[in-house]
Amino acid sequence: MNVNYVQLVYFFGMLFCVMGILLCIRTARTRFGKLGDAPSVSFWITRLPAESAAKLIAFAALIVLPAGAIFTANYHTFEGVHEVSGCASCHAMLPMVNDLHDPNSGTLAARHYKNKWIAENQCYHCHSDYGFSGNVEAKLTGYRHLARYTTHTYTEPIAARVRFNNQNCLNCHHHTPKFEAVQSHHTAADRLASNQMICLNCHGQAHPTSLERTPGSAAYSRLTEAFR
């Protein structure tokens, strides 16, 4: 994802919002019943009756610009959250992101990042199930997280309530020689595929422990330093 491109989308989104608000105010102040006798309005290369112009403004204020703002905002959000910096913008996610960048950390996330096993969009790569339903679910979950975050109805350490989908691991690891060489992967193949057994059982911590992410713990201040 090109960062300038995202910023451009961000700029247009903000522009739509500001214009929408201004036109909404303008529309709210308009008395449509008194526009019948008003002179026509010059509009671009033509002239429109005042009432038609006001309706056009109202349509833009209430429909077009909000739709454009919603579209650009969602587009920006959908694309922006692909990036680690998108996750880092949320305070509750700082421990995960700081750990990800810690070269001395042995968590699965840090090892994947340090060794560049995933080239970009590292958080999204493991935490968004692919396909339509997966994306919808991810967005709905994101909406829930947003609601919790903005209303401060969460406590640290945060805990994932939905079960992590092994498929996110298997997408890359399945059928690789290293994976196939481990007998236990065959022993538990069905359970891994059906998510009855999580990969982390044998492969350890994905992120800092809940204890490390608890305010007041020795590691908490380090893990919640502002993301740079």
Binding site: I57, R161, A188, N201, Q205
Partner: protein, 765 residues
Amino acid sequence: MHEENIDPKDCSDASDITRREVLITLGVLCGAVGAGAAGWGFLEEIVALRQPVQSWHKSVCRFCGTGCGVLVGMKDGRVVDVRGDELAHNKGVICIKGSMLPELTHIPGRLTSPKIRKNGALVNASWDDAMGLVASKFSDAIRDYGPDSVAFYGSGQLFTEESYTANKLFKAGIRTNNVDGNPRLCMASAASGYVQTYGKDEPPGCYADADYADCFFLFGANPYECHPPIFERIRQRKRLHPETVIICVDPRRTMTAQHSDIHLPVVPGTDLLLLNSMANVICEEGLENQQFIQRYVRFNDGEKDCDFARFREFLKGYAPEKVEEELGVSARDIRRVAFLFARSEATMSLWTMGVNQRIQGTFLNNMLNSLHLITGQFGRPGATPFSLTGQPNACGGVRDTGALAHTLPNGRLVTNPEHREEMEKLWKVPAGTISPRVGFDAVSLFRAIEQGSVKAVLIMCTNPGTTLPSVARYQAAMEKCFTVVADAVEDSETQRHAQVVLPAALWIEKEGVTGQGERRYQLTEKLLDPPGLARSDLQILVDLADRLGHGSLITARSPDAVWDEWRNVSAGSFYNFQGITYARLKTQRGLQWPCPSTEHPGTARRFVEGEDPFVAKGAGIEFYGNHDKKAIVYLRPYVASPEKTSAEYPMYLTTGRILEQFHTGTLTDRIQELHDAAGPAKIQINPQDAFVLGIQDKDPVEVKSQYGTVRGEARLTDVSCRGVVFVSFYDSRLLINRVVADNYDPASKEPEFKVTAVSVRKVST
């Protein structure tokens, strides 16, 4: 857009907002907020409904001695998930066996009713009938032949409260020291090694030392398969610090060896040569730590104290060039490994059955500890000797409670009058109650049964009909005795010879404490009811005590009451764990003893100032188990095993575990995935040996020793080095212990499962 033509009067009264407009605006706002809140609430409900687990419960894995902390997920009264507990010592890592724990709660073949043998068959009976029969047979034997005519054969898989109660019942109630069990078969040599060296049993270090070690010396251990979370921790250390060296000493090219930097494939039975030779190199090349030796170490030639010069002189006979041929490792490799061991920043040795199950098991343990002592690789993070253990509660339940034939609780000995007196006071029994005679150790017990001097035996939570060496001999012996077996599952080899079988609760069907390999006590809480009429082993022991007239001795009758009694007994010893209460164990992920008060955090590294509460300030390291507070380095000569290869038996048989199976497979082999993964046990042969013998993969072959013969399917693999045959002991259909030599360590009484001279030949069927 141009707005200059709009009449400003058109909106001159726009500020006159009507009530209707305000209400509409508020309504729209409320609607928007309501819709958002409703969507959020809907999502919260969906998430809650989709939870596969209703509640998570902290627990402990049922299987090996790693003692992994797990989280048990329950829904509608059933176990639906098990995860590694990220807050436990294992940092969330468990293995394939632990991951299959949900299946353990509904394995087929559970015993659900007591059974009594009638006309050759075991038939269902009531608890009253079964226990009445057991009590009458035990009472008759005690009355007619004395208390030493009965015995208890326990397990490193019982809870501590159960082993403690059995020990107390038999030693202070029945008045016999015939209390032993399967830990004798797996860690007795480690225990005797620690006691001889430090004056106290149990490892001084902890699993967390693996996070700091720069050199791992894996000696006679295969943690990749037998203690996977520990090997994962070692690999994690290597990942983060690639300069870390992993050395594996094993006659087989195990998965552990394949993941090590250096593999030394010693000839079975000769590895004391390697340890003595490494010590020789260390002393001759000035790699020893004289400061540590001067301050903390004493030397002993086995009879009397001596000095470092004598030790160095003794080792001259083990120069690398002198031992390399018999040992099977080059002098160059010996010198290299000795240097790495001595000069790494922190060296951690880990060993298990390859060392313990040996006729020189105690000597090997002595020398492994000694290498750490002469190099000062001790007491610092990462620098420690560490014996891994095989069962979940061999350490806490059996070694610590003294539930062995020669011991009393907290390191006391039955032969020591002061120790007996102390325990008689603690157990509130008359002076002279505890017998001064050492009871029968595991092998001696079954020999006594064979000879007819033991008339009745209670076997709990173990399967000696599979695990004893030369097992055919002892299976026959069991037929001569009134054998009672308490077990969770039916149809074990031992039950075939039992007169009474009692159904026992399993894992989370009962409550109790286990003590794993690093002195950590952890609580397993009851989450399920046992099936049918099954009871906890503690309930069975309490019932037996009542029926034998010792009910007044066994006053603690629930797990928490027994634990309180036991932790108070420990208070007067160097084990002191009075501060490890059930209340703490219910909230914390286990605690390591010593832990003398409820405020004490537990002791990760024993004998170390600042960590161990018994070490005086300023002492640095203090081996308080010995009178001069110094550890002892013994001069331990190598003696070749009687199981030397010959023209008749030209190969070495060694036995062990595999990843998917625990112990004799009575539990793990009933879990379909593990059963399928392991398959029937195979006779593993090196391809070069197989070529010479005309054996191809999957051929039926016969393994023969002077003790017995088995037949099975050959598996050609270079995991077995030349001249080495390996068979795992989990499969009773290929009962390899029929072939294993009937020798044991004279000090620890632990059998030598790892070295048997055998022949292998292809057979027609």
